[in-house]
């Protein structure tokens, strides 16, 4: 053993007290685990997420939802998957074939890679790199590229429009997404997802603080935008640009986009849960109930902690996903220029302010010594309320000015209004 088998060797290493040698059988073992977990479990989760979404959306609209295949329509996702697999894969004649095939794979890989650093329980993490949070941001920033290539390679106007919208939206909302998790990193003092989990076992969920609450809200909004779901589903707005960047995809390649989208919904829900909702820990009075067992890897403690942590984690993720379905069933789609203004004029400034408030909270609560919760809550709570109110009123004012400006423009050419796409997408 020497330095070359340091943790950074690019083959997955579990969080173990001893770093194993990078031999052939270890690689085979991990490949098998990866094959089972990533090609069996997660697509299964995705399939039943789709079923749940259809059922829930149906209830919101006073319908029944899928109920033909199997009891309660439970076999519907399997039927859908079979249908997608058996359908013909059509590549448009003018399309750029290689790029057309590579693009959905790229998006799917990006969605899968996010899950590698999520701590589902104590020690239940595929890899624990010291800069796990940065890794997470880095791999999720690869998906706009895949979307762009999908739209570009299709040789279709609507695909390209959808791709341009998607890239502009994803790049814009990535900024508040990253800035809203800075408080968590600040409080933990580490980028490791496991360290963030341990810190929350020790101190309680990060959401229970004014800056944490604001950060969680910002992260949730940015997450919904990042996974292109209503009300931020402009890249695939079916009533405007057919289906956006995946218009020209059919069969299982379309299925890959579908899988990637729902997988990234699952991924961002895991992200929100792991960063702000305390991972798999129980709600407040019992948050640190199992603290002494965390980090010990005897079989008994491992089984005991994870028998509680993993189901609790999944329950939280389920609630988070349900919230996203709820938002989708409730809110109408935004206009493109409003979407951009909301990211750049509202979310980015607010999340920068939130980093500052998080530093104040750190001073009151996390500084070594007696935590002063009362004064911390009062001061940072007041700061959060003031900044949110000020930002909302500023945003409203700028919106009023902008709307007046748009209304005063003369109608161009053949008497049509300027196409909304053209206004602020950058």
């Amino acid at each position: 053993m020497n330095a070359s088998t340091g943790w950074a060797a690019p083959i997955l290493l579990a969080q173990q007290p001893e770093i194993p040698a990078l031999d052939f059988w270890l690689i085979v073992k991990w490949l098998l685990i990866l094959a089972i977990v990533f090609f069996g479990i997660f697509p299964g989760i995705v399939a039943y997420m789709v079923w749940a979404e259809r059922k829930i959306a149906a209830r919101f609209q006073d319908r029944i939802g899928p109920n033909r295949v199997g009891p309660l329509g439970l076999l519907q996702p399997i039927a859908d998957a079979l249908k997608l697999i058996t359908k013909e894969n059509i590549v448009p004649a003018t399309a750029d074939k290689v790029v057309h095939i590579v693009a959905p794979v790229m998006i799917l890989v990006s969605a899968f890679l996010v899950l590698a650093v999520i701590p589902f329980g104590s020690g239940m993490v595929a890899i624990n790199p010291p800069s796990g949070a940065l890794y997470l941001i880095a791999v999720s920033s690869m998906s706009p590229l895949g979307i762009f290539l999908a739209g570009w390679s299709s040789r279709n106007k609507y695909s390209l429009l959808g791709a341009m919208r998607a890239v502009a939206q994803l790049v814009s909302y990535e900024v508040p997404q990253v800035l809203s998790i800075v408080p968590v990193i600040l409080w933990t003092g580490s980028l490791s997802m496991v360290a963030i989990f341990d810190r929350q076992v020790e101190y309680g969920w990060f959401i229970f603080s004014p800056p944490g609450l604001l950060g969680f809200a910002l992260l949730t909004i940015a997450n919904i935008a990042e996974v292109n779901r209503a009300p931020f589903d402009l890249p695939e707005a079916e009533s405007e640009i057919i289906a956006g960047y995946h218009t020209e995809y059919s069969g299982m390649r379309f299925g890959l986009f579908f899988l990637a989208e729902y997988l990234s919904v699952f991924g961002v829900s895991c992200l929100g849960t792991a960063l702000f909702l305390g991972g798999g820990t129980l709600p407040p009075p019992f948050t640190n109930a199992l603290q002494e067992y965390v980090g010990t890897y005897t079989t008994g403690s491992f089984l005991l902690t994870n028998a509680i942590y993993v189901p609790v984690f999944m329950a939280k993720v389920g609630l988070y996903i349900f919230f996203m379905f709820w938002v989708r069933a409730t809110l109408p789609r935004l206009r493109v220029d409003r979407l951009m203004n909301f990211a750049w004029k509202f979310m980015v400034p607010l999340s920068v302010i939130n980093v500052f408030i998080a530093a104040v909270w750190y001073e009151f609560v996390f500084r070594p010594g007696q935590p002063r919760y009362l004064i911390g809550w009062t001061v940072t709570g007041a700061m959060v309320i003031v900044s949110v109110v000020v930002m909302i009123s500023l945003y409203r004012a700028s919106d009023v000015i902008e709307e007046a400006e748009i209304a005063s423009r003369p109608l161009p050419g053949r008497g049509r209004r300027p196409i909304p796409t053209g206004s602020t997408a950058r």
Binding site: M1, N2, A3, S4, T5, G6, W7, A8, A9, P10, E18, I19, L22, D96, V99, V102, P129, P130, S131, L134, Y135, I137, A138, V139, S141, M142, P144, L145, F148, L149, W152, R155, K157, L160, L161, M164, V167, A168, V171, E174, G189, S190, L191, P410, P412, G413, R414, I419, T421, G422, S423, T424, A425, R426
Partner: protein, 225 residues
């Protein structure tokens, strides 16, 4: 051994993608090759046990620079990223000679270096890295601490030892951002008369132009304003 094989694979792929970036006729294909090259450089960083830099590389280069380049290609050429013009054949041959010459000089320098900097070994004798992994379990040496938690130490050093450079880089980034916006911003003509004329002309053009052309104007207007 594993490491040598990984290095070989990564290097060969890296060189192929770099050559692809340089020689691909279609600009979007070149950009795609460049993305692969960035990714392989991140892999090299992983081989060098700098995982923080690998993540930064993916985040900045693939997440931002590549997207920016793609937008640039879309906005300056026809959206299909069609074949790029290249220099005449004689110039190309000369360029290849120059590039080969530069590589030869660099390789010669690496191969024949006899003496390292004062107090250091020459490069050829550096075949072992300072241990930071299991051999050095206490992680006492600064290097071991840094390799195992680079983000923390980089953050600390950026705000202490390198704070001036950090501030200057911040100013530079702000200036670059403002400058890029000022340069690329297209001033909208605010005179109503010319605007109406222009919009009518644009409408006439729009009706006449072919599909690809009209979608390009749409995209240009949507992305540069």
């Amino acid at each position: 051994m594993t490491q040598a094989i990984l290095f070989g694979v990564i290097s060969v792929l890296g060189l192929i993608t770099a050559l692809g970036t340089v020689l691909a006729r279609n600009l979007v294909h070149a950009a795609l090759m460049l993305v692969a090259f960035f990714f392989l450089v991140a892999c090299q960083f992983l081989l060098l046990e700098a995982e923080f830099l690998a993540a930064v590389q993916v985040l900045v280069y693939i997440g931002a620079v590549a997207i920016l380049l793609m937008f640039g290609i879309m906005l300056t050429r026809n959206i299909l990223g069609d074949d790029t013009t290249t220099v005449p054949k004689s110039t190309r041959r000369l360029s290849m000679l120059i590039a080969l010459g530069v590589f030869a000089v660099l390789a010669l320098g690496i191969a024949t270096q006899q003496q390292g900097p004062p107090g250091r070994k020459p490069w050829k004798e550096l075949t072992e890295r300072p241990a930071v992994g299991p051999d050095d379990l206490d992680r006492k040496t600064p290097k071991a601490q840094i390799v195992n938690d680079m983000a923390k130490f980089v953050g600390r050093d950026l705000l202490t030892r390198y704070v001036i450079a950090f501030e200057v880089a911040g100013i530079l980034l702000t200036a670059a951002l403002v400058g890029a916006i000022v340069i690329a911003h297209q001033e909208r003509d605010d005179d109503p008369a010319t605007r109406v004329l222009e919009s009518e002309a644009a409408a006439a053009d729009d009706a006449a132009a072919a599909d690809a052309e009209s979608s390009r104007t749409l995209l240009t207007s949507s992305s540069t304003r």
